[in-house]
């Protein structure tokens, strides 16, 4: 034992199935490396010999650690992607931007209201947005950043929350904003205000908490905890299964344990 198998990109030993994947040149921070054409930018770094400390978290496109900007020699366009999700292309000039400084306001969610005033008080910068759309073009998650900024300027927190929901907080938008705004901090403030104050509260959760605090389930659960495996198995097998997709009005036949 002890031999570690590499899972993240194929080695010679593991073989390539149907022959070698062709290699393509990429320019990591300007320096040329040849890497297999099938790799993501993240794996290309590793293939080139880097051991990643920065720029690598989930390896699955959700943590926002690996924001990357790239362009091609013959193009005027700056493109963006998450390094763990973007496949290399020949002659990419790329750099990861694993961190970008952005100021975040401090607030007590219990004390603020879900309105434009709170937004402006905490993030006066919001009003500086000139609606240039650079942020939208810089977002690797294809979020309409400029649109949520416009909504934030109007105090339409619901819209900000919904439009920004997929934000991975990678910071690429902030890195390119000419007015130096930290869009994604504004977005999470809006989402939390929306979640707390604008979305209707779930009464049934509070009602259940109350029942628990009243001790309604204590003896039922105590009995289960004392039950031997056979009894538990029997109770388990006898459970009534709520049909998939049943509506809120579905009721089990046996209500004594509710």
């Amino acid at each position: 034992m002890g031999k570690r198998t590499r899972k993240d990109f194929p080695t010679k030993e593991e073989g390539r199935g149907n022959g070698e994947i062709p290699k393509v040149p990429v320019f990591i921070m300007g320096k040329r490396y040849e890497v297999p054409a099938s790799l993501t930018i993240q794996k290309a770094f590793e293939y080139a010999g880097y051991q990643l400390i920065r720029g690598c978290g989930c390896r699955g496109g959700i943590c926002g650690a690996c924001g990357t900007v790239y362009r091609f020699p013959d193009s005027h366009k700056i493109e963006v992607g998450l390094a763990c999700q973007t496949v290399v292309r020949p002659n990419m000039y790329l750099t990861m931007i694993p961190f970008f400084p952005a100021n975040r306001a401090i607030y007590d969610l219990e004390e603020i209201r879900p309105d434009l005033e709170s937004m402006i008080k905490l993030y006066p910068d919001v009003m500086r947005c000139v609606q240039c759309n650079t942020c939208t073009k810089s977002c690797p998650m294809d979020i309409e950043v400029m649109d949520y900024m416009a909504a934030a300027m109007r105090g339409d927190l619901t819209k900000v929350a919904k439009l920004s929901f997929d934000c991975v907080m990678c910071g690429l938008c902030a890195s390119r904003c000419p007015t130096e705004i930290a869009q994604y901090h504004i977005a999470i403030l809006a989402r939390r205000l929306y979640g707390k104050y604008i979305l209707p509260k779930s009464e049934h959760t509070d009602a259940m908490v109350k029942r628990i605090e009243e001790g309604r389930y204590d003896s039922m659960l105590n009995n289960l905890m004392k039950a031997d495996e056979d009894k538990l198995k029997r109770l388990y097998n006898e459970r009534e299964i709520e049909p998939e997709g049943a509506g809120e009005d579905w009721k089990p036949k046996d209500s004594q344990y509710l």
Partner: protein, 557 residues
């Protein structure tokens, strides 16, 4: 990258040929037969856990003789990353009331609760705050919040059944009784649960639930929990300091045998430093990146079992590590997406699991372990797996059935994340099936603890995936996001109370590490392995051969 290569496109034809008949059967409610309990047992022999040679007995420490995967034993039978004598414990770099190791869901929940009980907190975490398995969870979080049809009683039965009735009852009890409070707590912090117009939370089934109690936030529930908790922690920056890129390599005890801090490695500057604390909470998560038996994983980059190693060295016992949860459907092609999770909901929505001939060989809604075992069997003994151009093997998950059964656009609407991802590889999952194979997903077991999150070492508390006992031998979907919040909160409270009322000053020591080293020698274990691992080794071995002056300690340069 231009979608599936021709050889796979040819095989997809077979899937398309059998699809109409399969759809018809599904519409008529005719399902591929479920295995009986007896057949399940037979089938499970193909599960990686059941492979005898995948495990060996630990030769040192409190669980001597316990057989668990080689990859963990390798780390337990290893030396400290640093010679304990080199660490000067009289020069402490930071002090706090409660030190939390690991800034995932459990660690961050603990920080909030500890702070609310008056403690000054340091979270030290290996990567960035929130680079964690919690961030990656998609499906949802369980909790019996609907009194008209559900209660903690039924949740308890589900948890126990899922865990093969081996769970520690008191832990399962705490999990289910605290669940509704946790859901209410998350809601009060502004988490965006999916709700209907009147505020009723939308809930779904997960594998093994008798009531629909999986609450969710689209298909990024874990990310929504993580970013909400993290945002709240950032609001309390006065009391909760966060040290990123700081990996714990040893716990520090004091002369009374109480836990009193930890030694950290700055991942960037490569220096070691020490934090002294009145109470310590280990919340370092799981271990998918150990790639047990060479399997791919859904886990984040830092899931390398570090907490198990440092806890075990300090004397905390392990439990339930002989089982590991494999998720039956991880992406196996294209290789950039390898290991990524394709949630159970795809199968719930009707997608069949098929072999190379486009034939069904298992019902797509067997429990995770049975489903995984069946896929492995089909690809090995039966020999009807689909070979990928990258030298791997998998089976088809017939995602296009979802649109056929539920209307055009359903797959895209219900699974936007995966739809976009595959589109980047020029694969349209509502038109073409997905190649999948079981992937390492969840560490069922871990360090032993009590419902108050205490360990045998006073002052040492634990929470989250690093613990064992709550889920017995098998965790149900949606119960670990829950466990992370439930026990994270309790750990924070226990830690703060301990720091205030029971912590006892004493001379700091790493004597336990030296003792562990001696034990290794006495057991005849001569090795240059070091642990904890901190990060998996993904650097290019060919480059490594040419790094003539580079020095690696374990996997880290």
């Amino acid at each position: 990258m231009a979608g599936y290569p021709p050889e796979l496109k040819r095989l997809i034809k077979k899937v398309e040929e059998t699809r109409p008949a399969r759809v018809e059967r599904k519409k008529r409610g005719e399902e591929f037969p479920m295995l009986s309990l007896r057949e399940r047992e037979e089938r499970l022999k193909f599960h990686p856990d059941y492979k005898g040679e995948s495990r060996r007995e630990i030769r040192v420490g409190p669980n001597k003789g316990y057989a668990i995967p080689h990859e963990i034993v390798d780390l337990l039978e290893a030396r400290s990353r640093v010679d304990p004598d080199q660490i000067d414990l009289s020069a402490i770099n930071h002090e706090t009331d409660v030190l939390i190791i690991g800034g995932g869901g459990a660690g961050t929940a603990a920080a909030l609760f500890a702070q609310e009980r008056g403690a000054k907190v340091i979270i030290a975490t290996k990567l960035r705050h929130g680079d964690a398995n919690t961030m990656m969870a998609e499906g949802g979080i369980q909790g019996a919040t609907k009194r008209s049809k559900d209660s903690p009683y039924f949740h308890y039965l589900d948890v126990m059944g899922g865990g093969h009735f081996k769970n520690t009852p008191e832990l399962a009890y705490t999990l289910v009784i605290e669940a509704p409070k946790v859901i209410a707590w998350l809601e009060s912090m502004g988490m965006m649960f999916d709700k209907s117009r009147d505020g009723t939370m939308l809930t779904l089934h997960g594998g093994g639930t008798c009531r629909q109690r999986m609450h969710y936030a689209a298909d990024i529930t874990g990310a929504e929990i993580m970013r909400t908790l993290r945002d709240e922690a950032r609001n309390r920056i006065e009391d909760i300091r966060v040290f990123e890129f700081s990996a714990a390599v040893e716990l520090i005890l004091n002369e009374h045998g109480h836990c009193a801090g930890a030694v950290f490695y700055n991942m960037e500057t490569e220096e070691y430093f020490s934090v002294k604390a009145k109470a310590v909470i280990v919340a370092t998560g799981g271990s998918g990146r150990l790639h047990y038996q060479g399997y791919m994983t859904t886990n984040h980059y830092g899931a390398t079992a570090d907490g198990l190693v440092i806890g075990y060295r300090a004397g905390v016992r392990l439990c339930f590590l002989h089982t590991y949860q494999y998720h039956p459907t991880g992406v196996v092609y294209p290789e950039q997406a390898e290991g990524l999770l394709i949630t159970e909901k795809f199968r719930g929505a009707g997608a069949n699991v098929l072999n190379v001939d486009g034939e069904q060989f298992v019902n797509e809604r067997e429990p995770r372990d049975v489903e995984s075992a069946s896929v492995i069997r089909e690809c090995t003994t039966v020999g009807k797996g689909v070979s990928t151009p990258t030298g791997k093997v998998g089976v088809w998950l017939d995602s296009p059935m979802i649109d056929v059964l539920r209307g055009e656009g359903t797959a895209q609407r219900e699974f936007p994340g995966k739809h976009i991802l595959f589109r980047r590889y020029e694969i349209d999952i509502s038109k073409e099936p997905i190649l999948v194979y079981p992937t390492l997903h969840y560490q069922n077991g871990g360090l032993e603890f009590t419902p108050k999150c205490e360990t045998v070492i006073p002052g040492l508390f634990i929470a989250g995936e690093v613990t064992g006992g709550i889920h017995g031998e098998n965790r149900l979907m949606g119960n670990s996001l829950l466990d992370v919040c439930v026990f994270g909160r309790i750990a924070g409270e226990s830690g703060a109370v301990y720091a205030k009322e029971r912590a006892k000053e004493g001379r700091l020591t790493l004597e336990h590490v030296k003792k562990y080293h001696r034990e290794l020698e006495e057991a005849g274990i001569v090795t240059d392995r070091v642990a904890p691992m901190l990060l998996p080794d993904y650097s290019n071995p060919e480059v490594r051969e040419r790094q003539l002056t580079a020095h690696y300690v374990g996997t880290i340069r």
